[in-house]
């Protein structure tokens, strides 16, 4: 089966920086791909590139974003408008800033249906109520006339999801969809997203900094650091046997609920420095913070290698802590 979305060598360039470089990944129908990274990793810009919503100053000097037969980087504004909201939809971290505060949520959902499905106002309103029901908003017939400020944070994110799935998109891009939500509400929203993914056979690109979310919700994980993919793996492999020093550092640095480790037992493992040190680095972007860096790491950017089946890592010196009998090749 051909991938639903295939990103090849995507570079995003601003006049003075290249926040995303030679990024490749693909996602199949119905699959959840997580892109993990910290601020400055380029993960949100990647999401905006998929939607062709990059700021004006940004260019895509090379790379391809193949969605079905089309290359989104070559599509004109009109063509992209037809895809956006219909075939590819997006939800953001802070629903309050993405919803119109002076328009009822019913009208905001109906708007999408009127534009893309040419529904009448009456039919669109009825569909809006159905969609509110689909995203489990209680008393949807009443809520449809509410304004965003009358809803809680979790409810607003449900409304965003209702708008996003209104036209049954093939691809949903979720940029930190639960970061602004409380942990009990986060669980509800992630449950909902996953149910909808299955019911609608949507592919989901889940952009997050939360490793726990990745472990439990993703089919495949891409780890980004300073604009580059540094590791790709299935979640189990990534958490049981992280290969890139950055991924290892992240997992070691995070306090965990189930780990019986307390400050009286010792300090948390730190990753020294900050991501700022990657600016101007000609070698491996993680070199200035890496505890295993060697002189050769400063010479050039490490290529992605295939250390095991379904895995990629951009570090030549990493060895798995577990034996890998057959390092089968990946397509790329």
């Amino acid at each position: 089966m051909a991938a639903l979305l295939q990103v090849d060598n995507l570079t995003i360039r601003f006049p003075r920086a290249e926040p995303v470089r030679n990024l490749s990944f693909e996602i199949n129908q119905g699959e959840t791909l997580a892109i993990v990274g910290e601020s400055g990793s380029g993960k949100s810009l990647t999401a905006l590139a998929l939607m062709q919503l990059l700021p004006r100053a940004a260019q895509i000097p090379n790379g391809r974003i193949a969605f079905g037969e089309q290359d989104l980087t070559k599509l004109n504004a009109r063509g992209m408008r037809q895809l956006r909201g219909r075939d590819i939809a997006m939800i953001f971290q802070e629903p309050m800033t993405s919803l119109n505060p002076v328009m009822t949520i019913g009208r905001q959902i109906a708007e999408v249906l009127k534009v893309h499905e040419k529904l009448s106002s009456k039919a669109a309103r009825e569909r809006a109520i159905e969609l509110l029901k689909l995203v489990r908003i209680p008393a949807p017939e009443k809520r449809v006339d509410d304004y965003p400020h009358q809803l809680s944070g979790g409810m607003r994110q449900r409304v965003m999801i209702a708008i996003a799935v209104a036209c049954k998109p093939k691809l949903l891009i979720a940029d930190e969809p639960t970061t602004a939500l409380d942990v009990t509400i986060q669980a509800q929203v992630l449950d909902l997203l996953d149910t909808l993914r299955r019911e609608l056979q949507m592919a989901v690109v889940l952009i997050t900094h939360d490793l726990g979310v990745v472990a439990q919700w993703a089919d495949k994980v891409v780890v980004m650091y300073a604009g580059r993919k540094v590791e790709q793996a299935l979640p189990d492999d990534l958490f049981n046997d992280p290969l890139h020093p950055y991924t290892r550092g992240l997992l070691a640095a995070s306090p965990r609920l189930k780990h019986d480790f307390h400050y009286r037992d010792g300090a948390l493992t730190e990753i020294p420095g900050s991501i700022v040190s990657a600016v101007g680095e000609t070698g491996c972007p993680f070199r200035p913070r890496c505890n295993q860096a060697r002189a050769s790491c400063g010479h050039h950017v490490p290529q992605l290698i295939v250390p095991a089946a379904d895995r990629l890592v951009a570090c030549p010196f990493t060895t798995s802590s577990k034996a890998v009998p057959h390092a089968a090749a990946l397509s790329h």
């Binding site: 009990t184 669980a187 726990g212 979310v213 439990q216 948390l268 900050s274 991501i275």
Partner: protein, 314 residues
């Protein structure tokens, strides 16, 4: 005598929707050298509690004692002495640093207010503290925007430490930071605690951070404490259904996925449910819970729970 002792504290706000019970009858003790973690979701009143303890917000009722002295009704002038001993670290260090002052100026202000040292001595105190929190010496002549998030939080910590406080209220000190930076800041807070003999009231929504950082944990819901226990006991034997739900809701790589443990939203603190505040979301709620408010009672030494059915849990 405990360092901080809070009795039946209430902080109510008047709002358009009526009386908002942000903090609604809380007892809290912080012993010397102890870190008390205060966990809860947004809107539970945990930040208001922190601010009330510092008297940044006036309590509606109750009593706050610091080292045995009643500070509940102290006027602003008399509070100054106490403020030297109780400091605060905020979630967003950038918002709490004046963008037009250099770090040196920011750090000098508290010393000037409290009339500590002459110019040269103040400079020395600042240089020492800047080094202690791991910032380069030239930081003092730079402005807040020139620092990364983690470095800004180091500045916030330096400012809190300047006056040699005994208690620091940390309100979500690592929530705005990237994961790779969180560990640096948590480690720094532990080092400073050891070096200065500090006590912390550590407010956070992040259970895994509290798990690592606190000696004792209090779980807050709708303005009240629903469970309180020492760290090890709380994680191994949680007895309030809300505490359990919070723990289950944290996605953990070491555990398979589970269905969302709680439905619904936090009720509004200006329209608190009858009986037990948690009954609208509790999987175990009965008619008794809807009618009768559970007492916050000790079920073991140092372990208190406000639930009618805490004996049936586990």
């Amino acid at each position: 005598m405990p360092l901080l002792s809070v009795t039946d504290l209430k902080t109510h706000y008047k709002s358009r929707d009526g009386l908002l019970r942000a903090v609604d009858g809380i007892d809290l003790v912080v012993e010397r050298g102890e870190t008390v973690g205060l966990v809860g979701e947004s809107g539970c009143g945990k930040s208001t509690l922190g601010k009330t303890v510092l008297r940044l917000v006036d309590p509606t009722a109750g009593r706050i004692e610091f080292k045995g002295e009643d500070i509940t009704v102290l006027d602003q002038r008399s509070l100054r002495g106490v403020r030297k001993s109780i400091q605060m670290i905020f979630q967003d260090p950038f918002a709490s640093l004046n963008p037009r002052q250099t770090i040196g100026e920011i750090l000098e202000a508290p010393l000037v207010v409290h009339k500590l040292g002459d110019r040269a001595e103040r400079r020395q105190i600042i240089a020492d503290i800047v080094a202690k929190v791991g910032l380069p010496p030239e930081s003092v002549s730079r402005y807040p925007h020139e620092f990364s998030g983690g470095q800004r939080q180091r500045i916030g910590i330096a400012r809190a430490l300047l006056l040699n406080p005994e208690l620091i209220v940390c309100d979500e000190p690592v929530s705005a930071l990237d994961l790779s930076i969180q560990a640096q800041i948590l480690n720094l807070l532990v080092e400073m605690k050891k070096e200065f003999g500090l006590s912390y009231l550590f407010i956070s929504h992040d259970l895994s951070v509290v798990r690592y950082f606190a000696d004792r944990v209090m779980v807050m819901y709708l303005g009240r404490i629903v469970e309180s226990a020492d760290n090890a006991t709380l994680w191994s034997d949680p007895r309030h259904p809300y505490t359990r739900a919070l723990m289950e809701a944290v996605p953990d790589p070491a555990r398979p996925r589970q269905a969302a443990p709680l439905g619904g939203d936090l009720p509004s603190p200006s329209d608190v449910p009858s009986g037990c505040g948690f009954h609208t979301r509790c999987p175990l709620a009965t008619d008794q819970c809807r009618a009768e408010e559970p007492e916050f009672r000790a079920i073991a030494p140092g372990h208190q729970v406000a639930c009618h059915f805490s004996d049936h849990i586990n």
